[in-house]
Subunit: 133 residues, 2 copies
């Protein structure tokens, strides 16, 4: 089941400046920073009511975030939905015809198992499923 | 005060097909459709936990949605935050240095007063403030 939007991921060029911007925008302090080496990103999390905003900065030109910014500039990179059972939800979406970008859940930031759905399947939106570990 | 993400707006080329896609993705039926003539858009709303997804289709080449899709293709167009007092929040953001795209709140879809913040102010993300009328 898709419980709710867990977070919105925003690709940024400089995470320190972006953190100041989003702290001012949301009128709240970031509560967590984390590097995800497998994805070549630094992340910063801010709470917004029941949801989170995740700022993502590339640490390498190989990062999907670096490629995204090269192509489109800074902006919203993905929407992540909280699910209870990621494998069941992956099977359901696959049966519905969605193209999944990974066959098995993989570790993501913030103690989650994640899977991405191809933007072609969802009107140009990169969708992430995430299940708390 | 920024209470929460009220909705995420997604620019789509064909709203009927997109509605089917997002109904399948979220495993829920759309609960509302609305045309906003002043903005030259048709909208469809789906609930996702405490938030909403708003699909937006242009009804005229003059629409901001048509221009967005021409430039970038379908995808996430804006994030809207629910606020209690839109004029107070506009004043706060202006004082913080954010560039507002309208001087006064204007009527939007779903019985809201809205104001947009320039994407240049927020790392490429178009931010909407919305207050229920």
């Amino acid at each position: 089941m898709m419980n709710k939007i867990e977070h919105i991921g925003i690709a940024v060029s400089g995470i320190e400046k972006a953190t100041s911007v989003y702290e001012a925008l949301l009128n709240t302090k970031a509560y967590k920073t984390e590097s995800v080496e497998s994805e070549h990103v630094n992340t910063v999390f801010l709470q917004s009511g029941p949801n989170k905003i995740e700022l993502l900065e590339a640490t390498s030109a190989d990062s999907a975030i670096a490629k995204f910014i090269d192509k489109r500039g800074e902006g919203i990179h993905h929407i992540a939905f909280d699910v209870d059972d990621i494998e069941a939800e992956m099977a359901r979406l696959k049966a519905e015809g969605f193209i999944l970008l990974n066959d098995k859940p993989k570790p993501g930031a913030d103690n989650k198992l994640v899977c991405f759905v191809h933007p072609k399947s969802a009107n140009g939106v990169l969708i992430e499923l995430c299940q708390s570990i």
